[in-house]
Amino acid sequence: MIAVGLTMIFGVMRFSNFAHGEFYMLGAYLTYTLSNYLKTDPYITMFVAALIVGLLGVALNKILIKPLYEAVARARGTAMFYFQDLNFILMTIGLSILIVDLVLVIWKPIPIRVYTVMSDSVIKIGFLSIGAPRILALLIALISLSTLYIFLRKSRIGKAIRAVSQDPSAAMLVGINIWKIYDITMFVSLTLAGLAGGVVGPIFNLYPNMGLDMIAKAFAVVILGGMGNVMGAIYAGFLFGVIENLGGLFIGTAYRDVIGFLIMIIVLWIRPQGILGR
């Protein structure tokens, strides 16, 4: 889910969001706090938290990204270019540090456990016992990603998003307001990141660096699937998870991360455009 959001932002805006992991982390922390205050189960509050994170994305677009885009466009004297300028990369890295530090101040550095009514339920499939939160995580991921897929394929706005990703000038020429599309893209992809954080809360502990630990893997998945390719990111995400865990099983858990990135390097070597291409 994180990688899909990341690849979507890249595909539509050509914008590498290095602060993406922090929105995932915010989703997790907001879910936790909302549950505490509202005395409601995280499986309900995580959706509220995800929407808040999505709205933060729209705010980020309006307050930081658009003014910076306009300033860079003025300095260069051209009307159109993608968000590949170094300024944008530095801005998201700065934002990432800022959010991590804010979370450290607000929630303190001690890891937090999120309890839900599902925490202790175990589901047995044959001889396998799997914790209910893990099953729910898979279900929520599948449902949200297939909804996203149908939205992009069938809806008017979804088609406009695809049009902008294929050719922003041509999209403007048919009357699409690209800034509105950028807002929607940020909203959708950061809502996904926030929801991923909420879903992960009941499985692992929360800590302020969880986003930083995730972002490298998310970028690896995005590269594997082909930069900006939403379906590619979904396939690559599954592939990455399976390879990492099988590798962990056969070679040793200490080498789990090594195996995943090794695969990334090999894929970049033989197929630099990713498995499915752009």
Binding site: R76, G77, T78, A79, M80, R156, K159, A160, R162, A163, Q166, D167, S169, A170, A171, M172, L173, V174, G175, I176, N177, I178
Partner: protein, 236 residues
């Protein structure tokens, strides 16, 4: 006047591309913009569509000043550009491209009718309506680009080098289609072309652009007979 371009000056990456360009297009006219490569034809059209900004001068649509509007607002006012390179969405089907052309419209029945009209204009597009736009031949892509422009119900349709890289037979077909569009739909057409003979033969008036300035203008028939045009553009 439907469209009036008044002494615009345009820079691109700090280079002065248009020194001072003025032109006018009336309701239902076909206007040609001719001139050699690099004269500023594409820049002129892009600036009218809003993809490039003017540094001075003004653009009016029916006496309303529009040069500060972004391109998507100008599209909603009926100024539609079919750009050089065609501006298609390569990973969408022919029919989806036509739907995107009608993005701003809500009148579903009328959109259907217009789609029928463009399919009758270019029957090959109907045959290929499920095919991805990126897999069409050059001529078919240009037909789709014009058809997609028409789906917006433009008041002024600007065509940038529609004949570029196409076989003469296809060019003839496109030229016929363009005059048919103008006749039947009463759409004003502004066409930039290096194929000077084709452009002058379908247009009523023409402007000659050289080095970022309009150097000559007048009725297309007169320009066809003009010795300078004959020598430098028609090779006679």
């Amino acid at each position: 006047m439907l469209l009036k371009v008044d002494k615009i000056k345009v820079f691109y990456d700090k280079a002065l591309i248009l020194k001072e360009v003025s032109l006018e297009a009336g309701h239902g006219e076909i206007i040609a913009l001719i001139g050699p490569n690099g004269a500023g034809k594409t820049t002129t059209l892009k600036t009218i569509a809003g993809l490039l900004k003017t540094s001075s001068g003004a653009i009016y649509l029916e006496n309303k000043r529009i040069d500060h509007e972004p391109p998507y607002v100008r599209a909603s006012m009926g100024i539609i550009l079919v750009p050089e390179g065609r501006g298609l969405f390569p990973k969408m089907s022919v029919e989806e491209n036509l739907e995107m052309g009608a993005f701003l419209r809500k009148d579903v029945d009328e959109i259907r009718k217009d789609m029928e009209f463009v399919y009758s204009l270019f029957p090959v597009l109907r045959e290929r309506r499920r095919q991805l736009a990126g897999t069409l031949s050059g001529g078919e892509q240009q037909m789709l680009a014009i058809a997609k422009g028409l789906m917006a119900r433009p008041r002024i349709l600007m065509l940038d080098e529609p004949s570029l890289g196409l076989a003469p037979k296809i060019v003839d077909h496109l030229i016929d289609a363009i005059s048919q569009i103008n006749r039947e739909k009463k759409i004003t057409i502004l066409i930039a072309e290096q194929n000077v003979y084709a452009a002058l033969s379908i247009s009523e008036r023409a402007y000659v652009l050289e080095n970022g300035s309009i150097v000559m203008s007048g009725s297309s028939l007169e320009l066809l007979e003009n010795p300078v045009i004959k020598r430098s553009y028609l090779g006679l």
